[in-house]
Symmetry: C2
Subunit: 323 residues, 2 copies
């Protein structure tokens, strides 16, 4: 029954997802404090800022300052997010971020229009241009993403066939310029996925593209995040994005309805309990979850930071037994 | 891949779990308001009160008054919880509850001691006596429960073998008095289960006792509730306890760390989305979730009541498309 992977790679996206989303303002120093604390948990990759228009996303206006302020820990790759050449240039200028290329298409034309103000053909042109830019700058195209891969609030359900088709388009766009795509992220941007659709879509992509390394980006708006992650694990997925404390959403009065990525501590807890290595120290991470609540100034959705780890309980019981 | 059951039976435990847990006081009329609203969602069984010592559980001091006050809806079975003859007599006296026998053992001796102040041998004697009482009163013994079936905060992990052994003990106790046990509930009382341990333990019990109808009672303290429920569904489990809005716990400042049963709306949402019938109207249930928050006066953990159902979104999209 247990065909779970032996280990997985978690990309912490809490700082980027969270500071972008929070109505704030959150002092730059506190953002840096949380990023530095996360750096010491064993996490190996962390997306800490996005380089977007500060008028559209005021919470990211201090992106450069945040990057300048952190104390990098060896072995941790700090990354940023961008959607155009200007954003990429800003990321490169920091001189402190891991710069790898990422391209994406959206399974929903309407979401693409609302989110990036582009039509599908424009997005393909932009993607072609991005690949060209990466090639010219000798930047590795590390991965491609299908946004809204499981459904869209503005367009509805997305079939596994549609996702397979889009994966093919991304592979072809890379191949056109002599690039072999190694990694494909399926993003449940608007929280439409269920464990069943995760298994269906991941399975369909694996069947058609067995060499692609799949990655899941799961939002938790409808409480399915951890169940969806487990479905991914059962399908052999070994890469997950997640968000400390569930940062990036607040299912309470502050921002009704929204929710961030699946919570990192809850994912690490589940992995610990079923014997999957994450390389992350859960107890240190739980402290970061509580710090995140303090930094944003309101409760966040993570469960294990409130319920406590079982490892800690087992240690207490074992001490009591041997005393 | 999809071997999920076609339909499941959900027992709503929110009122009993919640009103027992909340520091309150909650006016009796408001308890009745929530129970009556839940009665109109399509739920077929609801545990609304427990008959316990009012000094130990002040929130249940008005149990009889609550039962007297509800407006029973035909087709809904209202039940109560008791742990001894005195509690059973109180339940019978109401004249309005479905009285079915339930017996239980604990996988953890230490939990049993703390929760019911009984040693394992005492619990077996009590159980034998309960069966005898039910038999004499012509009350059907509907189900047996293993408490702490997946782990215990005071004793640690519980193996699948241990659970199989306890299931055997309960079956034997019933058989001694000529009763065939049809239903067995495995309760993750202290939220130690993972999807993996659910599959292992449920699988082990099914292998040894293929005729038993299994039921899961899943607490959500560490955020695994929905993932554990899905693991149960994949194993063919068709009976679940759950709690509207996640009542019975409050993972926020009010009662740090505790959490109720898996949230009914989130479970019904997941079932709706993967094509499993529950007989429950999700939109009506979401209103009950919000009512539950109003009744207890603080946020509750349920996700879908904040994120919204997808059915509602699909309807909007389909209307817009045909307009």
């Amino acid at each position: 029954m247990n065909t779970l992977p032996k280990q997985i790679h978690i990309k912490e996206e809490g700082p980027r997802e969270g500071f972008q989303f929070e109505k704030g303002p959150i002092p730059t120093a506190r953002k840096i404090e949380l990023i530095d604390a996360l750096s010491r948990t064993g996490v190996k990759q962390m997306q800490i800022v996005s380089f977007v228009n500060p008028k559209a996303v005021p919470g990211m206006a201090d992106a450069e300052e945040v990057v300048r302020g952190i104390t990098p820990v060896p072995g941790v790759a700090y990354t940023g997010l961008w959607f155009n050449d200007q954003g990429l240039e800003r990321a490169i200028s920091t001189g402190r971020l891991e710069i790898k290329g990422s391209i994406n298409l959206s399974a929903s034309a309407k979401f693409l229009q609302r989110n990036l103000n582009r039509a599908p053909q424009q997005q393909i042109a932009v993607t072609r241009g991005m690949i060209d830019t990466y090639r010219q700058k000798n930047i590795e195209v590390e991965r491609a993403t299908i946004m809204a891969a499981f459904g869209c609030n503005f367009e509805g359900d997305v079939s596994a066939d549609r996702v397979v088709d889009l994966v093919g388009q991304l592979v072809d766009l890379a191949t056109e310029q002599g690039i072999v795509l190694g990694r494909m992220s399926l993003a449940d941007t608007m929280a439409w996925a269920t464990p069943l659709s995760i298994k269906r879509t991941v399975g369909a992509v694996q069947d058609k593209f067995p060499d692609l390394d799949l990655e899941l980006h799961l939002h938790d708006t409808r409480g399915m995040g951890i169940a969806n992650a487990y479905a991914g694990l059962e399908m052999g997925v070994q890469r997950f994005d997640s968000s400390v404390a569930g940062l990036g959403g607040c299912p309470f009065a502050c921002h009704a309805g929204a929710a961030g990525n699946v919570c990192t501590e809850d994912l690490v807890f589940m992995c610990d309990e079923v014997g999957i290595e994450t390389g992350i120290d859960l107890e240190a991470l739980l402290k970061c979850g509580r710090l995140a609540e303090d930094v944003v100034g309101h409760p966040l959705p993570g469960s294990v930071m409130k319920g406590g780890s079982l490892r800690r309980l087992r240690e207490k019981l074992s001490k009591a037994a041997s005393a």
